[in-house]
C-alpha cells in the first residue's frame, strides 16, 4: 500500500522537494539548482528548472511524470550522458557538471549501469556475449552467466538478440547493466515496449539487482503502478519535482496491479 505524504511544491517548500530527511544512509546523488534548456529566445524549452535532489545509497527511486516533464533529461544528467545548462550534479565525490568527456566515460564505465526502453543490444553478439562485452571493461564483474542467471535467462545464453523476445532482450540488457556490479542502476522506461507480464519479469530482475548488488536504482516509468516497488516516488512536472511519496513497504513486482 502506498503511504501518501502531503504534496508539496518545489517552489515553496523549505527543504527541496526531492530531498529526504536524514535516514542514516548517505546521499550518493546530489543535484542543486539543475537547469537545462534548449534553444533560445521565444523558442526556449526548459526541460529542467532549478531542480534539487538527493538520492540515498541503495535507494530504489521511481520517477513518474507526464511526457516532456524532464525525466529523461534528469536521468541522463545523473548518468553522465548530458550536462545541465546551470546548477550542479555530483555522484559521491565526483562532480558530474563540468567534468570532461573522458571523466564522464570513466564514471559511466566504473559506476553506472543503464537500461533503456529499446534494449540497445548488439545484434551480432549473443546474449552471453552482450553481457561479456561490458564485463570485459569492468573492474570487478560477475561472470556473465551469473548475471544472466539473476535475470532468469540461463537457458538462452547463446541466442542472438534477433532470436529473443522483447522481454528477454530487455532482461539481457538488465544483465548487461548489472554484470559490472554497478553502484547506480539507471533505467529509462525499461518496460515501455513490453506487455504487463513481461514487464513484471524485467522489473523483478531490476529489483533483484537492486537488492543483491546493492545498486542505487532510478527507474523512469509512465506506469504509476510500478511506483509500489519503490522506496520513494518522485513526480515530475514542467522540469521540476512536484511531489515526493515514500512507500512504507516496497511491493514485489508480482504484487503490482497494473
Amino acid at each position: 500500500m502506498l503511504r501518501r505524504t502531503p504534496m508539496t511544491t518545489a517552489s515553496d517548500a523549505a527543504p527541496p522537494a526531492g530531498k529526504t530527511e536524514a535516514t542514516g544512509a548517505p546521499p550518493v546523488f546530489v543535484a542543486r539548482g539543475l537547469c537545462k534548456s534548449y534553444g533560445s529566445g521565444d523558442a526556449t524549452v526548459h526541460a529542467l528548472r532549478d531542480l534539487d535532489l538527493d538520492i540515498l545509497q541503495g535507494e530504489f527511486v521511481v520517477l513518474l511524470g507526464p511526457s516532456g516533464s524532464g525525466k529523461s533529461t534528469l536521468l541522463n544528467i545523473l548518468g553522465g550522458l548530458d550536462a545541465p545548462t546551470s546548477g550542479r550534479a555530483a555522484w559521491r565525490d565526483h562532480e558530474l557538471t563540468g567534468a570532461d568527456e573522458a571523466a564522464l566515460t570513466a564514471y559511466r564505465r566504473d559506476h553506472v549501469g543503464f537500461v533503456f526502453q529499446f534494449y540497445n543490444l548488439i545484434p551480432s553478439l549473443t546474449a552471453r556475449e552482450n553481457v561479456e562485452l561490458v564485463a570485459e571493461i569492468a573492474r570487478d564483474p560477475m561472470r556473465p552467466e551469473e548475471a544472466l542467471a539473476l535475470v532468469g535467462l540461463s537457458h538462452r545464453l547463446d541466442h542472438f538478440p534477433g532470436q529473443l523476445s522483447g522481454g528477454e532482450q530487455q532482461r539481457v540488457a538488465v544483465a548487461r547493466a548489472i554484470v559490472k556490479r554497478p553502484d547506480a542502476l539507471l533505467c529509462d522506461e525499461p518496460t515501455g515496449a513490453l506487455d504487463v507480464e513481461t514487464g513484471k519479469l524485467v522489473l523483478s530482475a531490476i529489483a533483484r539487482a537492486n537488492r543483491e548488488v546493492g545498486a542505487t536504482t532510478v527507474v523512469i516509468t509512465h506506469n504509476a503502478a510500478i511506483a509500489g516497488m519503490a522506496d520513494r516516488v518522485l513526480r515530475m512536472g514542467g522540469g521540476r519535482i512536484v511531489a515526493t511519496e515514500r512507500n512504507a513497504r516496497r511491493l514485489a513486482p508480482e504484487e503490482l496491479v497494473w
Binding site: 541522463n76 543490444l121 551480432s124 553478439l125 561479456e132 542472438f160 534477433g162 532470436q163
Partner: protein, 786 residues
C-alpha cells in the same frame, strides 16, 4: 520545387562526403574516357586529314637502282593507282650546334619543281626549291624547330661522302615523317635527325642516280589487294635490287602512330570500367543503406497513397545528381587532360595542325555511360522501393535480426569486442568481398602509375647496360672491308672497335613474314652481348640465326625450327636457317648471325657496315667531331645522347601519368574506405552510441567500428599487389606495340609505395570518420533507432 526534391537536396547535403567521394570516382572514369577518346579522335582526325591532303602513299618499296623507265611498268600493275619514283639517300648534316653528328635522309622532289604526286609536303614557311636551283632544299619542321632555323639559313650536308651546301628555302611537314626518329630508336630526336628535300637532279647527282630511282611509292586503286600489289611489285623490282615492298602497316611513322592510337583505345575502354564499376558498387551500398534507413518514410508515403514509381524516381534522381556532379567534374578534367595529352603528343607527332577535338556527343556519352552503370548498381535498391509493402512502415522498427549461422560460430575464443567486427565481415560476405576487392583495385592504379619508371629503368638497363655495351655506333655509307674497323680502332679516343654487318632481310615462317635487319656479329663480341631470358650471355651461333624472343613469338617459331631468310641486298638469295637461340631485346626486333656466316651467305668477303665503339669519355667530343668529318661515315649514334633524349622525352610523360594514376588510386581507396566507414557508422551508429553510454571510450568504440575496415584493408593491400602484378602483365601483353617492348618488372619500391599510398588514403578516411564517431549523440541513441 516539389517537396520530394527538397528532401533530395537535404539528403544530398547530409551525405555530402559520400556524394563527393562517389562523384570523384565517377569523375575519374569520365575523365579517362573523355581524355582518351578525345585525344584518340584528335589524333585520328589530324592523321586522316593530313594523309588525305598530302596523298600519303599506301605501298613503299626501296630498290638499289632502277631505271626511271621501269616506273611505267609499275604503273601497269593491276591495282596500282598512282606511282612515283624518287631518289633517297642517307644524309649527314654538319650542324655547328650539334654535339654529335646529325643523321638524316635526303629525298628528291620532281624535276618540274612541283609538289610530288604522293607524300606532298605541307610548307609551314618558305617554298619548294626552284627547279633550276641545285643548292636549295626544304627541311623537316622537327629539326628546323629544334634549331630555330628559318628560310635563308644554310646547312652543310654530306651526301654519299661528299660535302654540299644547301640553302633552306622551305620548312615542311610530311605524312611520311609524322613520327621521326633515328633508325632503330623508338623516340624522336629532333635535334639529331633531319629530313631534307631537294631537286631530283641535285640528289641524283649526289648519289650517281641520274635517270634512276631508288624508292617507289604508290597508292592503290579502290578495292585493290595490297598483298597482290606488293607481290607483283617485288617481282618487278627484284632484278633491280628490290628490298621488298611493304604497306603502310610497316611504314615506321605510320606504325608508331597506329600503336599509340591503339593504346588510347585500350585505355578508353578499360580504365573507365574500373571506376564506374567501383562507383556502382558504392552507390549500391550507400543507396541501399539510404533506402533501408528511410524504409518507414517510403512505406508511409505509400500508405498515404503515393504511387511507388515517383518514389523510386526520387532515389534515381539522387543517383543521377551524383552522376551529374561526377560527370561535370570528369568532363572538365577529361577535356583538360585531353588537351594536355595532345600537348604531350606534339613533339612526338608532327602534324601541320593537331587541334584538340571534343565532339559534343562525347561528354554526353560519358555522362550517360556513367549513369547507366550507376543505375545498374542501384537496381536492387530501387526494386526494393517498388516492392516494399506499405504496411511495413507502420510496424515499429525492429532491431535487425542477426541469427548467427556460420558467422555465429566464429570467434568464440576471441573477446566479445573482437567478435563484433569479425561477425560484421562474415555476416555480409558479398559486401565484404566487394569492399576488399574495391580497395584492392586502388593498388594496381598506383602501381600502373609508378611502374613506368621501373619499366624505363629496366629497359635502359637491359638494352644499354647488358646488351649494347659500346658507347657509340657508327653506320658506314656502304659495306667496307674489315680493315675499316682496325682503322677506326686507331682513332684517338677509341678504346675498342668491333665491326658488324647489318643486312635487310625478310624472314618467313609458314604464313608469317617480317621485314627486318640481320646483324652479323664477330664471335666473342664484347660491345654487343646478346642475352637470354635470364640475362646470361648467349654465344653467337656459328650456324643458324638467333632471333629475338618477341619476334619468334610473332613468327610462331621456337629454337630449333627452320626459318626462311630472304636477303634483300645484293644477290637476294633465299636460305633456310635453323633458329639457333632466342635472345632478349627491347627496341625493334633482333636477328643475329655470326658475321662470317652472314657474309658467306651473301657470298661476300669480310665486310662490315657498322662499327661499335668503346670511347674514352675525355676524348669523346673530339672524336664525334672527327667522325662527322670522315667521308665514309653515314651516321654516328651516341649512347649518352640517346639516354639524355630518352630522359627528356619520357620523364615528363611518365611523371604526368604517375601523378594522375596515383590520384586515381587515392580516389578509389578513399572512395571505398570512406563510404564503407560512413555506411557502417550509419548502420551501427546506434549500436556504437549505446556502447558509449555503457562506458566504452571513444577510442574503444572507434576501434570496434573501424576494425572491420582495417581487416578489409589489410587483406586488400596484398591482394592488390598481386592484382597489380597481374594487371601489368595483362596490359603489357595486350599491348601489341612492335616499336618497343616494356618489361613487366615492378620494383619493390613501387610495390611498397603503392601499398603505403593506399594504406595512407585508408587511414585518412578512417580519421575523418573517427571524428564523427567522437561526435556521436549519446542521448539521441537512446530515444529510438535511426
Amino acid at each position: 520545387m516539389s517537396v520530394l526534391d527538397r528532401k533530395l537536396l537535404r539528403d544530398f547535403w547530409a551525405l555530402r562526403g559520400q556524394v563527393l567521394t562517389i562523384a570523384l570516382l565517377i569523375g575519374a572514369g569520365v575523365a579517362v574516357l573523355v581524355m582518351s577518346v578525345s585525344s584518340f579522335l584528335s589524333l585520328r582526325a589530324a592523321q586522316q586529314s593530313f594523309y588525305a591532303e598530302s596523298r600519303f602513299a599506301e605501298v613503299f618499296a626501296e630498290v638499289k637502282r632502277a631505271p626511271r623507265t621501269l616506273l611505267a611498268r609499275v604503273a601497269e600493275i593491276p591495282g596500282v593507282a598512282v606511282v612515283e619514283g624518287r631518289v633517297g639517300g642517307e644524309a649527314r648534316v654538319d650542324w655547328p650546334g650539334a654535339e654529335v653528328p646529325v643523321a638524316g635522309r635526303v629525298l628528291s622532289l620532281p624535276v618540274s619543281g612541283e609538289q610530288p604526286a604522293l607524300n606532298r609536303l605541307r610548307l609551314l614557311a618558305g617554298r619548294l626549291p626552284e627547279p633550276s636551283r641545285h643548292d636549295e632544299a626544304a627541311i623537316h619542321a622537327a629539326f628546323a624547330e629544334a634549331w630555330r632555323m628559318r628560310p635563308g639559313d644554310e646547312v652543310a650536308v654530306i651526301l654519299n661522302g661528299r660535302r654540299e651546301r644547301f640553302r633552306i628555302v622551305g620548312i615542311a611537314h610530311s605524312p611520311e615523317f609524322v613520327f621521326t626518329s633515328r633508325p632503330g630508336s623508338p623516340l624522336p630526336d629532333d635535334r639529331g635527325f633531319v629530313v631534307l628535300w631537294a631537286n631530283e637532279e641535285a640528289v641524283a647527282r649526289a648519289f650517281d642516280m641520274q635517270g634512276a630511282f631508288t624508292e617507289a611509292v604508290l597508292t592503290l586503286a579502290p578495292g585493290a589487294s595490297e598483298a597482290a600489289v606488293i607481290a607483283e611489285l617485288d617481282r618487278v623490282l627484284l632484278p633491280w635490287g628490290g628490298r621488298g615492298a611493304y604497306g603502310r602497316r610497316d611504314q615506321p611513322s605510320h606504325r608508331f602512330l597506329e600503336d599509340e592510337l591503339a593504346e588510347q583505345r585500350t585505355l578508353a575502354v578499360t580504365v573507365p570500367l574500373v571506376f564506374f564499376g567501383i562507383a556502382a558498387f558504392l552507390l549500391n551500398v550507400v543507396l541501399g543503406r539510404m533506402v533501408e534507413a528511410q524504409r518507414d518514410q517510403i512505406a508511409a508515403l505509400k500508405a498515404l497513397g503515393y504511387p511507388p514509381f515517383p518514389i523510386a524516381t526520387h532515389y534515381a534522381k539522387f543517383v543521377a545528381a551524383i552522376c551529374l556532379l561526377g560527370s561535370a567534374l570528369g568532363i572538365a578534367a577529361g577535356a583538360w587532360m585531353g588537351a594536355g595529352m595532345l600537348g604531350n603528343y606534339r613533339p612526338f607527332f608532327r602534324f601541320p595542325e593537331l587541334p584538340y577535338l571534343l565532339p559534343v556527343w562525347l561528354p554526353l556519352l560519358a555522362a550517360v555511360a556513367s549513369f547507366a552503370v550507376a543505375l545498374l548498381g542501384v537496381l536492387a535498391a530501387l526494386r526494393r522501393i517498388l516492392r516494399l509493402p506499405a504496411a511495413e512502415g507502420l510496424r515499429p522498427a525492429r532491431p535487425s535480426a542477426f541469427v548467427g549461422g556460420a558467422a555465429g560460430d566464429v570467434g568464440r575464443r576471441l573477446g566479445a569486442r573482437a567478435r563484433i567486427p569479425l561477425r560484421g565481415l562474415l555476416g555480409r560476405p558479398l559486401r565484404t568481398l566487394l569492399t576488399v576487392f574495391g580497395i584492392a583495385l586502388a593498388v594496381p592504379m598506383v602501381v600502373l602509375g609508378l611502374f613506368w619508371w621501373d619499366a624505363m629503368d629496366s629497359m635502359v638497363e637491359l638494352q644499354f647496360d647488358r646488351i649494347e655495351r659500346g658507347d657509340a655506333f657508327v653506320a658506314l655509307t656502304d659495306p667496307r672491308p674489315a680493315r675499316a674497323v682496325r682503322e677506326m680502332a686507331r682513332l684517338p679516343g677509341v678504346l675498342a672497335a668491333e665491326g658488324q654487318r647489318i643486312v635487310p632481310v625478310r624472314i618467313r615462317a609458314a604464313q608469317r613474314s617480317r621485314l627486318l635487319a640481320v646483324t652479323g656479329l664477330p664471335a666473342g663480341a664484347e660491345l654487343r652481348v646478346p642475352r637470354d631470358a635470364d640475362l646470361r650471355p648467349v654465344p653467337i651461333p656459328r650456324d643458324g640465326i638467333a632471333l629475338s624472343r618477341r619476334l619468334a613469338e610473332r613468327l610462331g617459331v621456337r629454337a630449333g625450327d627452320i626459318v626462311q631468310v630472304e636477303v634483300l641486298e645484293g644477290a637476294r638469295r633465299v636460305h633456310d636457317l635453323p633458329v639457333a637461340a632466342l635472345v632478349e631485346d627491347i627496341i625493334g626486333f633482333t636477328a643475329l648471325m655470326e658475321i662470317g656466316a652472314l657474309n658467306r651467305l651473301m657470298r661476300e668477303d669480310d665486310l662490315v657496315s657498322h662499327v661499335a665503339l668503346r670511347v674514352d669519355p675525355l676524348a669523346a667530343e673530339a672524336l664525334w667531331r672527327h667522325l662527322a668529318e670522315r667521308p665514309r661515315v653515314a651516321a654516328t649514334n651516341v649512347k649518352a645522347v640517346w639516354l639524355r633524349v630518352f630522359d627528356e622525352v619520357i620523364a615528363g610523360l611518365v611523371l604526368t601519368s604517375a601523378v594522375t594514376l596515383t590520384c586515381f588510386g587515392i580516389i578509389i581507396a578513399v572512395g571505398v574506405v570512406y563510404n564503407s566507414a560512413r555506411v557502417a557508422l550509419q548502420e551501427r551508429g546506434w549500436e556504437m552510441a549505446s556502447l558509449r553510454v555503457l562506458g566504452f571510450t571513444r577510442r574503444e568504440v572507434a576501434r570496434i567500428l573501424l576494425a572491420e575496415l582495417a581487416v578489409a584493408v589489410l587483406v586488400a593491400v596484398p591482394l592488390g599487389l598481386v592484382l597489380a602484378q597481374w594487371f601489368v602483365g595483362l596490359i603489357l601483353g595486350a599491348r601489341d606495340n612492335e616499336s618497343f617492348d616494356v618489361p613487366p618488372a615492378i620494383s619493390t619500391a613501387t610495390f611498397a609505395t603503392a601499398a603505403l599510398v593506399v594504406l595512407g588514403a585508408a587511414l585518412a578516411s578512417a580519421v575523418v570518420v573517427r571524428r564523427r564517431i567522437d561526435r556521436l549523440d549519446l542521448v539521441a541513441a537512446l530515444k529510438a533507432r535511426d
